[in-house]
Amino acid sequence: MTTYIIRRLFQLIPVLFGVTLLVFLLMHLTPGNPAQLIAGETASQSTIERIEVSMGLNDPLPVQYVNFVTDVAQLDFGYSYRNNTPVFEEIKPRFWITMELAIYSTILSIFIGLIAGIVSAVRQYSVRDVTIMIIALFGMSMPNFWLGLMLMNWFSIQLGWFPPTGWGSAGQVVLPVITLGTAGAAVIARMTRSSMLDVISQDYIRTARAKGVHEQIVIYRHALKNALIPVVTVVGLQFGTLLAGTVLTETVFSINGLGRLVIDSIMARDFPVVQACILIISVIFVVVNLIVDISYTLLNKRIDMD
């Protein structure tokens, strides 16, 4: 197992190379001169040139890339064009807000998704099953921002149960987490259901019943452990979608997270910040998928680990 994890860590190297390269090129292939941006519209040619030299913008691209990666490895993402503050300082508080939002939403979607999927599968084609699956279909197809606006309208504005914007207090957490977690819950519910149905008809489930195992234990131990294997993969993929969803959710609920920072920075053409945000979000995604892969192997003993 340890060798497997080490091997998987090594496999991260090309992935990270790809991610950093893409982010790096993103900056250099977009039209517009960064030095011009920093210096402002009216700056003289000599000022721009001075800035270009100080930023190393005249070095060959490979040299610039190496410098970029070296800086990034030390969490040095440069300075924000807008505020002239270190990008890292700008990002840090927002990073935790987004992580909180993403993690709570993931937990919510796993929790709801698993329960709904199991309940559906155990009573296939019952009223309960059909109802849950219809709700799941809605949950999957509803656009994130629309759900957010609807929730805000009903529960904040009409009923006044939760504050409509911001992040921090328990009340502020509820609506954004539901908004962001719903689609994932729906996808996980559908996946769990079909996976459970598949597993329940397997021979070893009949064996368990033939041993005199209580039906509850047949479902929650014998079937669920096997049914979870494909679900784990979906959770990993879902996390990527969820990260993308933070952008809209944070915008709707005016949460000062990474997602909103990305939008604001794009609007202001504040490239170092955009770059850093994308890089960080990509790395989170890669790491989460590594964790998913490892739990997948822990669950599924049949995977060849060597």
Partner: protein, 343 residues
């Protein structure tokens, strides 16, 4: 056969599947006895309802299947009257089952030890330590080398033969009174087949169990069974002790089966398959189910279903030939004189 010498008496058992295409009567009035301490063989072509009969006994039929009626008396008690909770106490404890598919019948995500220990935990309340001790004994009993090591292995680490042994160890863990073995060896190669059958026989003698042996192989029947029930289209058509069945098969289907099924225990002249095919559920004949394929069928056979009748010596036949109503060729009652030299 009277109650006190039978461990299991199945009477008019009916199990159907309610599919989109309508009701499929997989088991349609099955009746047989399993004498205590003996082995009953159930034979019949694929799809005749052998496995569904076996699973009905343990009430393991799941949606869209349903046991519609009949009686399954185990030690004089009708299992169909028991609650699910009472039934759980019987499954794996007093009646155990080995399934047709050793490769897929063990849970891939639990170790061999966990799966065997579970039986001890459920039925005898044993903890991990005591359960492991018993599991090792059981694995030793079924001839698995270095059983201590096997406990922590997962099914995928074992061969098919080993997995079937684990299945047997699991089934026999609580020393059941009745073992139902559904083609326990079909998926295995010939030498392992023989070992497994030998093993079941030894354990039967040792533990004094009764066995229901479902098989396609008449060699297996000849070697392991005391009585045989021949099934066709969800019904028992002939029930006899094994010597009588081989020496003097009476139902035309049994005769056909004897000529068409392989026997692993001896060389055979060419196999002659029974003409025609098993009718599909939606075109089930109204009369004798076998009539369309039977060389002796008369109008009576096509129109009316014969009942399963005693014909003496504990033998039962479902065939018009052996009734007073028979109006066909009287000579057909004597089949295959050369068969009398066999068996």
């Amino acid at each position: 056969m009277s109650t006190n010498e039978s461990i299991l008496e199945v009477t008019d058992l009916r199990t159907s599947f309610f599919t989109e295409g309508g009701e499929v009567k997989a088991v349609d009035g099955v009746t047989f006895d399993v004498p205590a301490g003996k082995t009953l063989g159930i034979v019949g072509e694929s799809g005749s309802g052998k496995s569904i009969t076996a699973m009905s006994i343990l009430q393991l039929i799941s949606h869209p299947g349903k046991i519609k009626g009949g009686e399954i008396k185990f030690r004089g008690k009708n299992l169909l009257d028991l609650s699910e909770k009472e039934m759980r106490k019987i499954r794996g404890n007093q009646i155990s089952m080995i399934f047709q598919e050793p490769m897929t019948s063990l849970n891939p995500t639990y170790t061999v030890g966990q799966q065997i220990r579970e039986s001890y935990k459920i039925h005898q309340g044993l903890g991990k330590k005591e359960g492991s001790k018993r599991a090792i004994e059981m694995l030793k009993l079924v001839g698995i080398p270095s059983p201590e090591k096997r406990l922590d292995q997962y099914p995928f680490e074992l061969s098919g033969g080993m997995r079937q042994r684990v299945m047997i160890a699991m089934a026999l863990a609580c020393k059941p009174d009745l073992l139902i073995a559904d083609e326990p060896t079909t998926a295995l190669d010939v030498t392992i087949q023989a070992q497994i059958l030998e093993l079941i026989k030894e354990l039967q003698d040792e533990l004094g169990m009764s066995v229901v042996m479902i098989t396609h192989d008449l060699g297996v029947v000849a070697e392991t069974c005391d009585y045989v029930a021949v099934m066709y289209c969800g019904k028992v058509v002939e029930y006899a002790d094994v010597r009588t069945l081989f020496k003097n098969p009476r139902h035309p289907y049994t005769v056909g089966l004897l000529k068409s099924l392989p026997r692993s225990d001896r060389d055979q002249e060419e196999l002659t398959p029974i003409k025609g095919t098993v009718p599909s559920p939606d075109e089930m004949p109204v009369g004798c189910r076998f009539a369309p394929r039977c060389p002796f069928a008369t109008n009576l056979c096509h129109e009316k279903l014969p009942s399963l009748d005693d014909v003496g010596d504990g033998e039962q036949i479902r065939c018009w030939i052996y009734t007073d109503e028979w109006n066909g060729d009287p000579g057909v009652k004597v089949y295959e004189p050369e068969r009398t030299t066999e068996g």
